[in-house]
């Protein structure tokens, strides 16, 4: 493909963006040519999503120039971005479940006619679906009846329908099966052959190497390198993403290898993503489920906490079999759960810090149905002190920063009598650096007290800071289990992005 000679479709020049004191993107430059498939790589927090958001009109840059087809083009809204010819396929699927495929394909399109001529809409839908390899999908079917992969393809089809000059794919394959990924790639290739520039954001380096012509690597908001994929191999790419590997001090002594697992999991199946999983967590051990979005780690955590009605398999806590599917049962068995969405599934934002900290243990504090203040006070005080928020005990949680909110959420799980295992899903999502260290300390001290910890994370730093044992997952399967001291970031990234049965191994 003669990408080098054609004019530029997109040009980022010296773009900067800061969120408060945090520099998300510094002096970033990028060019895309028509027909080019360009990968954007980097770890969580490297600045990829800021680039995507700026391009899609969701965020405005502080400095720098953006040109599309040679003209100054700064989108102030998603609609405006769409008019500029930018189409975004987000990692979170933004289709409306209750509508049909055809309706979803029409939705939000600026040029949809007032009259809804169903036949025309369907034939247009068929055209678009054909382009992503969904030839046999009936456009009248509701999206709710589609498999995840089909949804992703429909979403790409919608982006294609906008006749976009620039197509952004943000982690489009995270939730897809092999065959589905093949369809997506075919679709992307055919779009790019038509002259669309594609920005492909992915962690999956195998896919990057296979699909993309060129790649830009970001680290800590800085551009590291832009190169043709032919100039690099995967090991180099990983090296670029990681940079110089920092020395990691061993912050705590992991528990002895021996000892019976306090929690044993055998054949845990969670349709549709996790076919079957075995895992042990010993008392005092911190186990990371490391993997990219959609690898199944979150599903495992949620299923253990009783939040999946379709999970099956054998889970034993201290030898006693746990009935899956009920949060109450899981809680009673000593499994304490921290959801990755503290606002909607964790905190009672309008209530005070103290109220939130004792919310789940009112039972122990009551007698005859009445809550005894003399039992509440010391516990709330101690917990608030342990998370460093003693002074704000009476403040509403909504008034706290994200980091402090997360501490309150975590604090609720601590020091509960009978807790055997902490189940943490992305324990530091949306938390600043200081808060993150505090939270990690809290988790460690809980482990030191003999509680097992199982956490899901997509962030390397967190995984290596916190875990004693690292379980890497890919596509719902465990890739490897290793002591932190016996593995390396390089290896873990390799495992997270490239399972033994990854596409490249096949290719």
């Amino acid at each position: 493909m003669s990408t080098a000679t054609s004019p530029e479709r997109l040009r980022f020049q010296g773009v900067c963006k800061s969120y408060g004191a945090v520099r998300a993107l510094a002096d970033f430059s990028l060019t895309l040519r028509p027909g080019e498939i360009h990968a954007l790589c980097g770890h969580n927090g490297a600045g990829k999503s800021t680039v995507v958001k700026i391009l899609a009109g969701l965020v405005r840059p502080d400095e720098g120039q953006i040109e599309i087809d040679g003209a100054e083009a700064l989108a102030r809204s998603p609609q405006q971005a769409q008019r500029l010819g930018v189409a975004l396929v987000d990692q979170e699927i933004s289709l409306i479940d209750v509508l049909s495929v055809a309706d979803n394909l029409m939705l939000g399109s600026a040029d949809q006619p007032f009259l809804n001529r169903r036949r025309a809409a369907r034939s247009r839908a068929r055209d678009l679906l054909r382009r992503v390899g969904l030839d046999s999908l009936d456009p009248a079917r509701p999206v709710s009846s589609l498999a995840m992969g089909e949804r992703q393809l429909v979403e790409i089809a919608r982006a294609l329908g906008h006749d976009a000059g620039i197509l952004i794919l943000d982690e489009p394959t995270a939730t897809l099966s092999e065959a589905e990924i093949g369809h997506v790639f075919d679709a992307v290739r055919s779009v790019s052959a038509d002259g669309t520039a594609v920005l492909f954001v992915s962690h999956r380096l195998g896919e990057v190497m296979e699909l993309c012509h060129s790649v830009t690597v970001l680290r800590d908001g800085q551009l590291v390198r832009t190169a043709q994929t032919t100039e690099l191999d995967r090991a180099e790419l990983i090296q670029l993403m990681l940079g110089h590997e920092p020395e990691r001090a061993l912050r705590r002594e992991p528990p002895a290898e021996e000892g019976r697992g306090s929690v044993t999991i055998r054949g845990l199946a969670i349709p549709p993503r996790v076919p079957g999983l075995d895992l042990d967590v010993r008392p005092g051990e911190i186990v990371a489920l490391a993997g990219q979005v959609g690898c199944g780690a979150t599903d495992v955590i949620r299923a253990l906490a009783g939040h999946s009605s379709r999970a099956s398999g054998e889970v034993r806590v201290d030898g006693r079999r746990l009935r899956l599917g009920s949060p109450g049962v899981a809680r009673a068995a000593g499994l304490a759960f921290l959801s990755n969405d503290r606002k909607s599934e964790g905190l009672f934002l309008g209530r005070s810090v103290g109220d939130n900290l004792v919310a789940t243990r009112l039972k122990e504090m009551s007698s005859g149905g009445l809550v005894l203040e003399r039992r509440v006070e010391p516990v709330a005080g101690r917990l608030a002190a342990s998370i460093g928020l003693e002074e704000r005990r009476r403040s509403a949680v909504s008034e706290l920063s994200g980091g402090n909110q997360q501490k309150v959420f975590l604090g609720r799980l601590l020091e509960q009598p009978g807790t055997r295992l902490l189940l943490l899903d992305e324990p530091t999502r949306g938390v600043d650096v200081g808060g993150r260290a505090d939270i990690h300390d809290l988790v460690r001290s809980a482990a030191d007290a003999g509680v097992g910890v199982l956490f899901a994370s997509t962030e390397l730093d967190e995984i290596f800071d916190l875990a004693d044992t690292i379980v890497t997952m890919f596509s719902g399967r465990v890739v490897a289990v290793a002591r932190r001291t016996e593995t390396s970031t390089h290896r873990v990234v390799s495992e997270m992005t490239h399972a033994p049965n990854d596409r490249e191994a096949v290719a």
Partner: protein, 329 residues
């Protein structure tokens, strides 16, 4: 309107009002001053308003509505919106009470309250247990209660047995109607329940964030059942007092209680989305509405105008509460 003034502060959240006076708070303060001014002007200029007799009349008119509204607040706080047919329960329990007087007043009171609690607890079970929509479930049960009552009474007026002694319930204590004292007692009891009991505390949490409550394995269904049962019990108490004061019962007047009670809850500044507010605020809301209605009445405005003003007050309260919540976020 001190009711909405407190809207910013739920129980357990305290802060010095002066140190955090935002623009929204100032606007609210200004609004409160205006409302207060209008009330004072109305009180002074309305003939017959400032009298002991009228004071008693206001209290008498808010007693029964207040009791229903206080029960309604439990439903709202626990995150189950409102019951749009609690008034039907009031009327039906009035009938039940009068009919049950054959067993003596004490037995009749107990039976009535149990029945009111039970019929609402069932609604709470369907709502909490299956997340069925509260509005529609309560509409359905209102219809069922009405149908059942029509079946049992043949649509005629229910009279108590001739020898029944129950009029003492319609009497006065220290010159004030008994219903006011009952209202105060129930308010105190429910405040205690909400703040001190485990279920009460959990109902604030469930009301605040249902998903979080489920994720933290709080007792979602028992909370809904309890909230509705308490509301039903309050409605039944109102029914008993109504029966005592009327001495008969028909099915003619049921919605008025429901909507006056809801108005009191909303005017009291309790967010309809749940988790916030306190019972006493509903009483203030009921008082506010009673005072305004009384003024309009004394100034010769018709029932229609009173209802109209009540509706506008509810709309204003809803908007103000939301603006405050936004200001806080």
């Amino acid at each position: 309107m001190s009711a909405t003034e407190h809207a910013v502060m739920g129980p357990g959240v305290s802060r010095s009002p002066l140190e955090r006076l935002s623009r929204g708070d100032l606007a609210l303060l200004l609004g409160a001053v205006v409302v207060f001014g209008v009330l004072v002007y109305g009180a002074v200029s309305t003939q017959g308003f400032l009298s002991y007799g009228n004071f008693k009349a206001i209290l008498a008119s808010m007693g029964i509505i207040g009791i229903v509204a206080v029960g309604m607040s439990c439903i709202t706080i626990s995150g189950n919106l409102v019951s749009v047919t609690l008034g039907t329960t009031v009327v039906v329990t009035t009938m039940l009470f009068l009919a049950a007087l054959t067993f003596g007043p004490v037995a009749a009171i107990v039976l009535t309250i149990l029945a009111g609690a039970a019929v609402c607890a069932l609604q709470g079970f369907l709502i909490g247990g299956f997340r069925a929509n509260p509005i529609i479930v309560t509409i359905a049960f209102g219809t069922l209660q009405l149908g059942l009552a029509q079946r049992l009474t043949n649509q005629s007026t229910v009279y108590p047995p001739h020898d029944a002694s129950f009029r003492f319930l319609a009497g006065t204590v220290f010159g004030l109607p008994l219903s006011i004292f009952v209202l105060i007692a129930i308010t105190l009891a429910l405040e205690f329940w909400l703040r001190r009991s485990r279920l009460g505390r959990e109902s604030y949490l469930v009301g605040e964030n249902l998903r979080a409550a489920r994720a933290s394995a709080l007792r979602v269904t028992p909370v809904a059942v309890a909230a509705f049962a308490l509301a039903g019990a309050c409605a039944a108490v109102a029914g008993v007092l109504l029966g005592a004061s009327q001495g008969n019962a028909t099915l003619l007047t049921s919605e008025t209680y429901t909507f006056q009670a809801i108005a009191a809850v909303l005017v009291g500044g309790i967010a309809i989305t749940g988790g916030k507010g306190a019972i006493y605020r509903t009483v203030l809301g009921a008082l506010f509405i009673a005072v305004v209605s009384d003024m309009l009445l004394l100034r010769g405005y018709s029932t229609g105008v009173q209802v109209l003003v009540r509706g506008l007050v509810v709309l204003a309260a809803v908007v103000i509460v939301q603006l405050l919540a936004k200001e806080r976020a």
